[in-house]
């Protein structure tokens, strides 16, 4: 188990290198560089030269990237060109907000999708099934910014239940979490449904029924626990997407999260902030995936203790099937 965890963490390293390289170079390719953003309207030639030297823009992008990676090796995510703050500080101050939003969205998605998915599966093929699926799809098909603004107008302005935006305590999480969570619903409901349909046909449910377990309990206890692994995979995936920041929703709700951090600084061509934040996202995403894999073992004892080479393959297979 420990070996497995360590191996998984080590496997993250090439991904981080790849991601950092890709983002750094794409950002560098983008028209408009940081020097133009920083210098004044009538900066002198000397000032520009000095700035270019300061940020390494008098040399090739490989030099800048190398320097950045050297810093990364020492655990330094770099320093923002714009704010002059360490990228780590900037990221860490945003992370809790994004985290709460991601968790809130997952809670909304889980709370809505799993019941819908289960009902859909139990009544598979019926009108109820179709209505549940359409309901779940509605969330996905409404563009987030539209839904977000509608929610603000209704629940913040007209009803005054929640603040209109910003990160201000528990109540402020609700509207943006609904906005994102409903978007997640389609996939999660669909996964719950098909996973439950798979399980509902299993013999052990008949065994449970035959021993007098009530139908509700057969579904919620016996079937659901078995159907949970693909759902767990989806929850993990959506949590990861959430940790990367929900750019649109964060914009609509003035939510100072990671997504806005990245896009704001993409616009300003602040390469270290963008690269650093995406590296952090990659790491956290990797850790969440690992946690999900470890959780499989909690849900399904057959996977437990199989985190040997063989076990890993099995987990991968389970995940693939779920995807």
């Amino acid at each position: 188990m420990h070996r497995y965890v360590i191996k998984r963490i080590l496997l993250l390293i090439p991904v981080i290198i790849g991601v950092s390289f890709m983002i750094y170079f794409i950002m560098d390719l983008a028209p408009g560089d940081i020097i133009t953003q920083l210098v004044g309207e009538d900066a002198t030639e000397e000032q520009i030269k000095a700035l270019e030297h300061e940020y390494g823009y008098d040399r090739s992008v490989f030099y800048r990237y190398g320097k950045y990676m050297l810093g990364l090796l020492h655990g330094d995510l770099g320093t923002s060109y714009i704010t002059k703050k360490p990228v780590w500080d900037m990221y860490i101050s945003r992370l809790p907000k994004t985290f709460w939003l991601a968790v809130g969205a997952s809670v909304v998605a889980i709370g809505l999708s799993i019941p819908l998915g289960i009902v859909s599966a139990v009544k598979s093929g019926s009108l109820v099934d179709n209505s549940c699926m359409v309901l779940a799809l509605l969330g996905l098909s409404m563009p987030n910014f539209w839904l977000g603004l509608l929610l603000i107008i209704e629940f913040s302005l007209n009803l005054g239940w929640f603040p209109s935006g910003g990160f201000r305590g528990f109540s402020s999480v609700i509207l943006p979490a609904i906005t994102i969570g409903t978007g997640h619903m389609a996939v999660m409901t669909r996964t719950t449904r098909s996973s439950m349909i798979d399980v509902i046909r299993q013999d052990y449910l008949r065994t449970a029924r035959a021993k007098g377990v009530s139908e509700n309990k057969v579904i919620t206890k016996h079937a659901f626990r078995n159907a949970f692994i693909p759902i767990l995979t989806i929850i993990g995936g959506q949590l990861c997407a959430g940790i990367g920041g929900a750019v649109i929703t964060e914009t609509v709700f003035s939510w100072p999260g990671v997504g806005r951090l990245i896009i704001d600084y993409v616009h300003q061509r602040d390469v270290p902030v963008v690269t650093g934040a995406i590296i952090m996202t990659t790491i956290i995403t990797g850790v969440i995936h690992l946690a999900v894999d470890l959780l499989y073992a909690v849900v399904d004892p057959r996977i437990k203790g199989k985190y040997s080479r063989k076990g890993v393959k099995r987990v991968k297979k389970v995940r693939k099937e779920a995807a």
Binding site: L38, G40, D42, A43, W100, S156, L157, F170
Partner: protein, 506 residues
């Protein structure tokens, strides 16, 4: 493992409820009138730094007017300079040396005493920063001499009558050496202003508390927060909900809601922001005067104002700010005359031009101009760019754009025009390097004779009208929605309002 999960979930929930607590509203009382203790102002632009010398833009200037002081300030209502940290000042005969007497009763927010050395340190720091702010000083200020603790002499490279304006800009704020050396990141936050910055989350808010040792008058307000809310609709809703007290620039389309709401007030002030069409005169279609004039005469200006800013704007005749020193519009506007426009176009070799734009209002204006131009057979292509890409593309040195729509916020002093016309200025979106204009700007900078100076500036504007480097479109209407109880803000046409004395009666 199961128990671990359960306990984790519990921790989540508990944290959630902890977050939910707090934020009760408090009030202070002065005599009969009750004031809100904590005031919040919402804005659509982000504050990224508390260092006044590193940046020069509207939203930051609003912050620095609260937290820092400059030596002099400009009273736009009375159009005169007023003492701030300096009590009096004196020019030498050839306008190259300015000697200022300083207040002796001022302390920084960290308790340090303010002296002439702080002025020297601050100004030298600006020059060394290579920031957007520093270009205002580099090449203008030669050096700073400390005469005694409360007297300082500024020696300029060449005469500049508008130097006092530069000194009044927030970027010329006085910072504290000790604070900066102790903490290079937060040190520059320390100023002599009425408000002490306590927290700055970029992209979220700046929180300030009243500096009880402030040397000037104090307000009853205890806390001031400048909050970033990017989405205009959400920002106005926050005001209507009472979450904030000031909402900068509500959406033009939503002003009606402010007027309807008995608790709100709409402040409308003439703005010095001019939206104009800029041709890249250095190359391509923009270098053809006939094409420029053709476009100038085919634009339906009323439609542009209606479409771009919902009719909330006034037709601009000159591309200068109406309150800017030397403003002139005696030549009249470009007449909407399709025949004339066609004649010009026939003389031009170009029949196509690309407009580069970035955001909504300008994009809408571009679409209207595109439709207008179509009527005389001129094809306009719209290129939508990100801000950074557009800045880079239209920078003076690169100048790869053919034309663009730009909004320039004008300051009140005459030399501000050098931003729009000066060589190497990145705001010179026409990529102009007209010798006569350069000469006129330089003359204006050094001229103390009011009438003569205005003549120079008039000539620049006349030249622009003849050659149509810039086609002025409209002045944006400035609107701010506020809670009815808000007072004490000094509203500015250039939008760097002064919140220092803000109070909100309950």
């Amino acid at each position: 493992m199961k128990k671990l999960l359960v306990s984790l979930i519990c921790v989540f929930l508990i944290c959630g409820f902890v977050f939910a607590g707090g934020s009760g509203e408090q009030k202070t009382t002065t005599g009969e009138v009750k004031y809100k203790e904590a005031v919040v102002c919402a804005d659509g632009s982000q504050i990224t730094t508390g260092d006044p010398q590193s940046i020069n833009n509207i939203q930051h200037n609003r912050l620095f007017k609260c937290s820092h002081n400059t030596l002099v300030s400009y009273n736009s209502a009375e159009a005169k300079y007023e003492p701030e940290l300096a009590t009096s000042w004196e020019w030498n005969a050839d306008l190259t040396e300015l000697t200022l007497k300083l207040r002796n009763d001022v302390t920084f927010q960290n308790g340090e005493k303010f002296t002439a050395n702080d002025v020297k340190y601050s100004y030298e720091r600006i020059m060394s920063l290579n920031s957007t702010a520093s270009s205002k000083f580099v090449g203008v200020l030669d050096h700073t001499e400390v005469i005694d603790d409360y007297t300082v002499k500024l020696v300029l490279v060449k005469p500049n009558v508008d130097w006092l304006d530069t000194l009044a800009l927030p970027l010329a704020s006085i910072v504290n050496q000790k604070a900066i050396e102790a903490d290079p990141l937060k040190g520059p936050w320390v100023g002599t202003g009425m408000w002490t910055i306590t927290a700055l989350e970029e992209g979220d808010y700046v929180h300030m508390v009243k500096n009880d040792n402030y040397w000037g008058e104090k307000t009853p307000t205890r806390e001031l927060t400048l909050r970033y809310m990017g989405e205009a609709s959400a920002r106005l809703i926050a005001l209507q909900n009472g979450e904030v007290d000031v909402c900068i620039s509500p959406a033009n389309t939503e002003k009606g809601y402010v007027e309807e709401d008995p608790n709100l007030k709409l402040i409308e002030i003439p703005s010095s922001t001019c939206c104009y069409f800029a041709f890249n005169t250095s190359k391509g279609p923009g270098s053809d005067e006939n094409l420029r004039l053709a476009l100038a005469h085919c634009i339906n200006y009323e439609d542009v104002i209606l479409g771009a800013s919902s009719g909330e704007g006034t037709r601009a005749i000159s591309n200068w700010g109406p309150a800017t020193y030397g403003y002139y519009d005696g030549f009249g506007d470009y007449k909407y005359d399709l025949d004339l426009a066609k004649q010009y176009l026939e003389k031009s070799a170009y029949k196509t031009i690309t407009i580069s734009v970035k955001d909504n209002a300008r994009l809408r204006a571009a679409q209207i101009i595109q439709a207008n131009a179509k009527e005389i057979g001129l094809t306009v292509v719209i290129e939508e760019l990100e801000a950074a890409a557009l800045t880079a593309k239209s920078a003076f040195k690169t100048a790869e754009h053919e034309s663009m729509i730009y909004t320039m916020g004008w300051n009140s002093y005459g030399d501000d025009a050098s931003r729009a016309y000066g060589k190497n200025s990145n705001t010179n979106k026409a990529t102009l390097s007209n010798d006569r204009v350069m000469e006129l700007l330089e003359l204006g900078r050094q001229c103390t004779d009011d009438a003569k100076r205005k003549e120079y500036y008039k000539e620049i504007q006349v030249l622009n009208h003849e050659h149509a480097w810039y086609i002025p479109l409209y002045y944006t209407e400035l609107s701010i929605a506020i809670n009815k109880g808000v007072s004490g803000i000094i509203w500015e046409g250039h939008q760097a309002h002064d919140y220092s004395n803000i109070v909100v009666t309950v």
